[in-house]
């Protein structure tokens, strides 16, 4: 049984700040007590570095760190040795792009993506364009930011070596048909890189079933600690890929004549002391989500979003941009009010939303503006919060937005 009121008791932020309505979950999420306990448990009970532990607490830290690989492997259905811990998805995508550029791609090869991607899934590819002469091409998306398989097929050819795309986009919450895209891309031998930042926290993700070659996500967007991300890669590809960072923990041995023998994946990608407490907290977060059930989470959020969408559609003072998308954020503006001003007004009513500027050209064409406000939900949000939000949003006007300064 999915009982949101029981679930809310797990979150100290909700208990400590019942005055806040937190609708900024696309940016980051609240942490439940089991995650906090896991992090504190390491700090208070077995702080030590990982690898080669010769004493009890170090052995325990080693095990907790290694266990998290198994938890994540279960969470996304892969092998533990295909799970690399990074700092966040941005780090994961940089490693993937740089690593592909270094050993897999050649001048003139094409990377296919969309204009609805987050900067973290564009800029690392842009660098390859500059440094290696890789070409970036965009697959068109429709009025709700969705990329259609026919258009992907049209864009594919022998020169395409990578298709890089979010499963769920961050601005409009468009869900892309990744499984079909991966199938089509593989017919041309292209690698598929999936940005899972906005999908992995909200729906069951099975990398085998999706058929992607690489994937990344961030712990902090799924109830886990900041500063931890995951890079999934098919094992043989990880073995072939070079790590961005070199240093301790990732080499098997080296000699003074510059010979370095790297460890196998995933360790070879984890140079230096990792974010041990963060990784352990991420493990607790994934366990927590799995105990609620990813399908339950998705279903609950879908209903809540539909409720939200129906209500906000009725407000005359609000422009609502993505009514047709079934998941992801509610993206809107107050009519005649600059996004940041309206978000500031909502903020003065203790409603946490994010105003943002989206450089993506397509979004300008699709929604006619560069700035929007996003209300992004998570499974601990409620209909009552939506009702309170709607009451406040109905009051968004230039006059009220300026009034917060007096």
């Amino acid at each position: 049984m999915f009982d949101v009121n029981e679930i809310r008791k797990d979150f100290p932020m909700i208990q400590n700040r019942p005055d806040l309505i937190y609708f900024d979950n696309g940016a980051t999420t609240y942490k439940p007590q089991p995650v906090i306990d896991a992090v504190l448990g390491f700090y208070n009970g077995y702080t030590s570095n990982v690898e080669r532990g010769d004493y009890e607490t170090a052995v325990k830290a080693d095990k907790a760190y290694a266990d998290t690989r198994k938890i994540i492997a279960r969470f996304i259905n892969c092998d533990p040795k295909e799970v690399v811990f990074t700092a966040n998805i941005t780090a994961s995508l940089n490693q993937i792009a740089w690593g592909l550029g270094r050993s897999f791609l050649h001048e003139g090869d094409i990377v296919l993506t969309t204009e609805a991607e987050h900067a973290s899934n564009l800029l690392p590819w842009f660098r390859l364009e500059k440094d290696l002469g890789i070409k970036i091409e965009y697959i068109p998306v429709d009025h709700q930011g969705v990329c259609h398989i026919e258009d992907v097929r049209k864009a594919l050819n022998e020169k395409v070596k990578v298709v890089a795309m979010a499963h769920v986009t961050n601005v409009l919450g468009s869900v892309q048909p990744i499984r079909e895209i991966a199938e089509a891309a593989h017919e041309y031998g292209a690698y598929v890189v999936m940005d899972g930042a906005q999908s992995v926290p909200h729906r069951r993700t099975d990398v085998r079933e999706l058929g992607v070659d690489f994937m990344g996500f961030s712990s902090h967007k799924m109830c886990g600690p900041d500063g931890v991300g995951v890079l999934y890669g098919r094992y043989e590809l990880l073995q072939k890929m070079e790590p961005v960072f070199l240093g301790g923990g990732m080499n098997a041995r080296f000699s003074s004549d510059f010979n370095i023998i790297l460890k196998d994946a995933p360790e070879k990608f984890e140079a230096g002391t990792p974010n041990i407490e963060g990784v352990i907290g991420l493990g607790a977060a994934a366990e927590y989500l799995m105990s609620l059930g990813m399908d339950n989470i998705q279903q609950y959020e879908k209903e809540l979003r539909a409720y939200f969408a129906a209500k906000i559609s009725q407000l005359d003072n609000i422009e609502f941009y993505n009514p047709d998308n079934l998941s992801g954020p509610i993206t809107f503006n107050g009519k005649g009010v600059f996004a940041q001003d309206a978000a500031g007004y909502l903020g003065s009513k203790n409603i946490c939303v994010r105003s943002g500027n989206h450089c993506a050209k397509i979004l300008h064409e699709v929604i006619g503006t560069d700035q929007t406000i996003r209300a992004s939900l998570y499974f601990y949000n409620t209909k009552e919060e939506v009702d309170r939000f709607i009451e406040a949003a109905a009051q968004i006007s230039l006059e009220n937005a300026v009034s917060i300064f007096f």
């Binding site: 600059f338 996004a339 940041q340 001003d341 500031g344 105003s355 943002g356 500027n357 560069d370 700035q371 230039l398 006059e399 937005a401 300026v402 009034s403 917060i404 300064f405 007096f406």
Partner: protein
Amino acid sequence: MSQTSSLLNDPMILRELIMDHYQYPHNHKLVEDERYRSVHMASDSCIDDITVQSRISGGMIEDVRFDGVACTISTASTSMMTDLLKGRSTDEAKMIIGQYFNMIENKEYDPDVLEEAVAFQNVYKQANRIKCATIGWKAMQQMIDESEASE
């Protein structure tokens, strides 16, 4: 003077002033003219994006203009800045800018020299908006500094 001051103490009027400068910004058009200096500012929040131009000659600010996409606070504060500093000597302008920054930092300031810009007297209470209220003013400060350095 005392009459204007009392009007400028009325929050309703100050609010109207901000709204008015936002909806109908003054000096809101850039020119293509080599005699103008120009500074492009994008605030850390990455949402305001404005360009301020000025023509400074012989220690006098002969013209100030701006354009861009920005929130009410950025737009209105920059619009008021252009009105206030156009036609001033750079020394006067530096003094006024200094008083304005004092106000924004919640320090002692002289409301009379700031005229309508006192509308932003409470911005210091919203730390995340201070950069909005100062973006155009910083651009102007930079151009004055550059003009003095080049003389």
